[in-house]
Subunit: 353 residues, 2 copies
């Protein structure tokens, strides 16, 4: 019996609903697969924890977390309780940084039965590889002067090391897919960072001669995700550009509630973290209407990452089947509760045991 130790952080808002439900599905999948077991350890960190303890996690929280194989996260943040920069930088971004989860991976795929806002969504299926450690999210900058003279400076720092590993990750991924990488740039406006990004992209591209490459400015690329999403395979972008593109990806899928994500530690030193694209959505939390699919698809990414590709595929097939059968939450035009969707998925999976 192989035991996988998974740290579970439901976090805030709907995270507290969709995470526990998703664990049921993971347990069912472990039953299907011979000889594996998930051991889940719950960490009650989030905004409520902050209000009680004055920090988003305990002092040795990070050290503790680093001992786990993977981290399964719901959502972080509730600006009604704690300002975003405290909750996010004290938990979500802190883990991304300290666990060296330098790549953020976000697939977008047309799903039968999910109404896309696009008139003609065709069968798009792409993955966005987002730089996850620096760039526009560098914690470098500040403000000076007061009143009329006030100035704020935000510095975006791009290192060759980080850009290279991100771009390389994208090329490797494309090699296992449809052999095309599109790079997001803005070298015509951001004349220091983006020409550097482009140069590295071009250099690494030389090593992968069988992969088609394309470079689009972020403004055009954002619009292409709306006008011709089926033309993309792998898209690689900086921290901010990846953030924007992945939300557009989620939008064209028909609901932010189904989009998955993974924060990947590529050196194997620390756990990777699996969190959906959606946030904590405090407005719908507690109503049992949150869509569990984003969290479940994120669980699929965790299974893939752990080498259980067949389980991952089985889960995604079952998700698509369940949506196709009309068992879905309101955001997808259905009437089912969070739990009803999960129970249906568990039932369908159990038929296979």
């Amino acid at each position: 019996m192989v035991i996988h130790n998974i740290a579970v952080i439901p976090g805030d808002g709907v995270g507290q609903e969709v995470v526990p439900e998703s664990l049921k599905v993971l347990e069912t999948l472990a039953e299907i697969h011979d000889g594996i077991k998930f051991e889940f350890t719950d960490f009650p960190w989030g905004c409520e924890y902050y209000l009680e303890n004055g920090s988003m996690m305990p002092e040795h929280g990070m050290d503790n977390l680093k001992n786990f194989e993977q981290i399964f996260l719901g959502a972080v943040g509730d600006p009604r309780l704690v300002p975003d920069h405290i909750s996010l930088w004290g938990l979500l971004i802190k883990i991304r940084r300290e666990c060296e989860q330098v790549i953020n991976l976000r697939p977008a795929k047309y799903i039968e039965g999910v109404k896309s806002p696009l008139a003609n969504p065709k069968d798009f299926d792409f993955v966005i590889v987002r730089e996850n450690s620096e760039g526009e999210y560098s914690e470098v900058g500040g403000t000076i002067h007061q009143g009329a003279d006030e100035i704020a400076v935000q510095n975006a720092v791009f290192t060759r090391k980080a850009v290279e590993r991100t771009v390389r990750y994208a090329f490797k991924l494309a090699d296992s897919r449809n052999k095309k990488v599109t790079s997001a740039t803005k070298s015509n406006g951001l004349i220091y960072s983006m020409p550097f990004w482009d140069k590295v992209f071009h250099e690494i591209g030389q090593e992968y001669t069988e992969i088609n490459t394309e470079t689009n400015h972020i403004d055009a690329l954002s619009s292409f995700l709306v006008t011709k999403p089926a033309s993309f395979d792998v898209i690689v972008g900086s921290n901010l550009f990846g953030d924007i593109l992945t939300d557009i990806g989620a939008a064209i899928m028909g609901s932010i509630g189904i989009a998955p994500a993974a924060n990947i530690n590529i050196n194997g030193k620390y756990p990777s973290m699996f969190e959906p694209v959606h946030g904590s959505a405090p407005d719908i939390a507690g109503k049992e209407i949150a869509n569990p699919i984003g969290q479940l698809w994120t669980a699929k990414m965790m299974l893939d990452h752990m080498g259980y590709d067949e389980l991952g595929k089985l889960l995604l097939d079952t998700i698509e089947e369940t949506i196709g059968a009309g068992v879905k939450t309101r955001d997808l035009g259905g009437t089912s509760s969070t739990r009803e969707v999960v129970d249906e998925i568990v039932k369908r999976l159990k038929r296979r045991v």
Copy 2:
């Protein structure tokens, strides 16, 4: 007779086709209106000029340009001939900066007869007010070290003066429209610049108590333009965020070929500049298939700006009528050439003389 001196820069690619055609329409409009005349002065600046002269405009080009009432620009750039950072920073961005065109204004509106990529475009009608002088496009930054140690830094500088005037412009505009301003932020990731932006937005908002305000992160906002565009009235954003949002706006309108823009000098010291959202599109240049609507709608914005609102309205109505009658270029699903579309618009306008 009031004579309006307009500097005309067709620029590169399709700019050389749609600008001269648009001048015909402006001349027709001057005939309709008693007592005005446009005097157009042509400036052949662009990438071909650069190849001959080694710069995008002559030495005293800017001084010359500053004497005109308005600037009517086609498109700049042709990366096959001149690298973008040279052509754009030597002409387009140079004029924006030196003529203190600190606001970039870009409407997006559902047009009957233009097929939107959205399944249900409804009647969206919003304007994006983009900061046009600094922010992420500050020419501040650089690179250091070589090879594996190379680092690029791009500094985004936000001054209170620039943020205030942009936000104030947005509130004033909303006051003449549907009384709602949505601010684009990313304060949860860009923790120095965006909290400052938010603070200024909040402060100015206090002065406009009758205007509804809303703040969205740029990732979510980009997706909302796809999922609920009809919910917006005025959107205000930084240079980069405005750039991205306006391209998405153009995308949901159904064609980048119809989206207009204006670079506004708000102190009246120098001319404003009117240029469509689309670029020079070298791939379709010279084929007489370029859509003139973006340039013409831009002309409408120039007319509005000059106080000829009725002419502006007449032009937009006639554009919509012409598209509705099926006289449109290929990108809109029609078969007409650039000139045929313009001739039809001129014909329809002349009926009114």
